[in-house]
């Protein structure tokens, strides 16, 4: 018999109680992991944003358009390698619930500016050639069971009318942090229709994403762009894509803080659940621990027995919790609208933090029972009636 076998046998002593404890830990671990996944998935949107891309938009608000001519002027600024302009199209695909970002773009440039969206040369060529062609992300293709050659009709809202598209490309993501839910189509297609039905809205662009040349100073380039349009009717604001995303997400900081607080509370719940079980177990075994001390088992031996059991419980609970977390994330990823979480995946750090926290809590939960057991005199322990 080994010390581990003894720990294992003690863990099986109250199967129902310990099963419920492990289940409690598992649920708490999966909840903690899920909240962390929410945070890391939001963070991923910031992290994936490049620092060598500048976003230029109307200085007042993102929703106001800029003249098309701005793109030509910005392209001439030193330090810019290439750029692509965008218009937010929105619209409804079959149902309002089916949200995913839809944007009018320059088809020959968008994939140079965003190399993390991987499109095969054949598909790119087909996309560029056809006015009504569009490219969708692999996540959208999977979600709506769409394939190359399929027709998509989008009902416009910002840009009214029915808009027909043919899928000529399905882009792949460079890694799991990259958003696979975008739809791109020809800006010319949008502009032509606007020329016909609402000429006042033609030749306008939403924002410009410029890829910087290697070694270019983003702040200096941004200043130069914005200075060009200073005191004009449409002033601009340029910033790196990362700071653009950061400022966008800052508006949700209260939600993030709340999620972080709840995560800490969940850690506390794990500690209470496990601590309660360990306190009950060691109290019931007061006589046994006194007997073990009588036989010559040292304080260190008793710490091994008690902390070992507590860590084993939290270890198994954490393992079950991580399996639950994996399943939960699959479910959440499938059912939660993509506008909230374009990417939703469990970061490796979440596995490590969740698992380490659970095991560390296993040790912490054993502290009080260990201290009580060590302090109890043998003669008192042997006389103890639980």
């Amino acid at each position: 018999m080994s010390v581990f076998r003894m720990i294992f046998k003690n863990t099986l002593r109250h199967p129902l109680r310990n099963f419920l404890t492990m289940l409690g830990i598992a649920v708490a671990v999966s909840a903690f992991g899920l909240l962390r996944t929410v945070l890391t998935s939001w963070d991923a949107a910031i992290e994936v944003a490049a620092v060598d891309r500048l976003v230029t938009r109307d200085a007042v608000s993102f929703i106001f358009p800029m003249p098309l001519a701005y793109a030509e002027k910005i392209e001439k600024v030193k330090g810019i390698e290439t750029l692509c302009f965008f218009n937010w199209f929105q619209g409804v695909y079959k149902d309002k619930q089916n949200f995913f970002p839809r944007m009018a773009v320059q088809p020959d440039r968008v994939f140079s500016v965003y190399p993390e969206y991987i499109l095969s040369p054949t598909e790119l060529e087909a996309f560029e050639k056809e006015r009504k062609a569009c490219v969708i992300g692999e996540s959208i293709a999977q979600q709506f069971n769409l394939k190359l050659g399929d027709q998509m009709t989008i009902e416009g809202d910002i840009y009214p009318g029915n808009w027909d598209f043919i899928i000529r490309g399905i882009y792949k993501r460079r890694d799991e942090k990259v958003d696979g839910t975008q739809m791109f189509f020809h800006w010319d297609y949008l502009n032509e229709r606007m020329n016909q039905v609402a000429p006042g809205r033609a030749n306008q662009i939403g924002w410009i994403v410029a890829k910087l040349s290697p070694g270019a100073n983003p702040a200096a380039v941004a200043d130069e762009i914005d200075n060009q349009f200073k005191n004009s009717s449409t002033e601009t604001k340029s910033e790196t894509e990362r700071s653009f995303n950061q400022s966008f997400f800052e508006s949700y900081s209260a939600i993030f803080t709340a999620i972080r607080i709840v995560s800490v509370l969940i850690i506390g719940i794990i500690l209470l659940v496990l601590g309660n079980t360990m306190i009950m177990s060691t109290r019931e075994r007061t006589q046994e621990y006194a007997m073990l001390k009588t036989l010559g088992f040292s304080g260190q031996n008793l710490i091994s027995f008690i902390a070992g059991e507590s860590i084993l419980l939290s270890f198994i609970g954490a393992m079950i919790g991580i399996v639950l977390l994996y399943l939960l994330v699959q479910v959440v990823s499938a059912v939660v609208p993509k506008q909230f979480f374009p990417v939703f995946f469990i970061a490796p750090s979440t596995y490590i933090i969740t698992f380490s926290a659970a095991v560390a809590l296993g040790f912490l939960a054993a502290l009080q029972p260990v201290m009580t057991t060590l302090k109890t005199r043998i003669v008192d322990g042997l006389r103890f009636i639980g």
């Binding site: 018999m1 080994s2 010390v3 003894m6 046998k9 003690n10 099986l12 002593r13 006589q287 046994e288 007997m291 073990l292 001390k293 009588t294 036989l295 010559g296 088992f297 040292s298 304080g299 031996n301 005199r377 043998i378 003669v379 042997l382």
Partner: protein, 232 residues
């Protein structure tokens, strides 16, 4: 083990009191006692007379307020906690009234328990356990848990656990106190055999006159004082 004046256990002027709500309750008053090697000593007395306290002092699981407890030439009252724990694991075998077996372990594992503290090879551990289980006549119940054994059998497992490390002394606190007459007789025969055949020094606390009759010597404690009664 070396003995002083032929006595393996030498208790000198030991005092022990307990405190209840800061009121001192003397339990042992200036007790002195010598137990020769190979002795089978029974301590008797009414409840609260201090016999279990004296046994605990001799076994090194409690400390005197004053005086010395020498076992095998070592003043155990002067040892630190971890040294004392080590000393107990090597030199003392314990038998409790309520057996104090671990319910999750089999009889074999319960007997093996004290050997976890030794560095004996696995094979030798097995030999020790099997010898002890044979000695108490339970080699066919090795895989049974305590709940599957009778009270007498559980006490025999406890005796096997007490002797598996081949201790210098065996201390037994009311070993027949929870047993029926037949089981009690079996347990006493076993203790007697350990004393006569294996020359183990045994100190036993008992209320049971029949159990005490198996001892070589019976000492009576009353209100913390010792009254000797020697029997041949």
């Amino acid at each position: 083990m070396a003995s002083m004046n032929g006595a393996i256990i030498q208790v000198n002027n030991v005092k022990k009191s307990y405190y209840r709500a800061s009121i001192e309750i003397p339990v042992l008053r200036n007790i002195s006692l010598a137990v020769p090697d190979g002795e089978f000593l029974a301590l008797m007395g009414p409840s609260g007379s201090g016999k279990t306290t004296l046994l605990n002092l001799v076994a090194g699981i409690d400390r005197p307020d004053a005086g010395e407890v020498n076992v095998g030439g070592i003043n155990i009252a002067a040892l630190g906690e971890s040294e004392l724990a080590q000393w107990r694991s090597r030199h003392v075998g314990f038998i409790f009234q309520f057996y104090n077996l671990l319910p999750v372990l089999t009889a074999y594992e319960n007997v093996e328990l004290p050997l976890l503290l030794t560095k004996l090879p696995k094979k030798e551990k097995k030999e020790h356990v099997e010898f002890a289980m044979n000695l108490v006549g339970l080699s066919d119940r090795k895989e049974n848990r305590p709940s599957q054994l009778s009270g007498g059998q559980q006490q025999r497992v406890a005796i096997a656990r007490a002797i598996v490390t081949d201790p210098t002394i065996i201390v037994a606190d009311e070993p027949t106190g929870d047993l029926d007459k037949i089981s009690a007789a079996e347990v006493m025969m076993l203790l007697n055999r350990l004393n006569t055949e294996f020359k183990k020094t045994i100190v036993m606390v008992t209320h049971d006159q029949r159990a005490a009759e198996k001892a070589h010597k019976v000492l009576h404690l009353d209100k913390g004082d010792l009254e000797p009664e020697v029997r041949s």
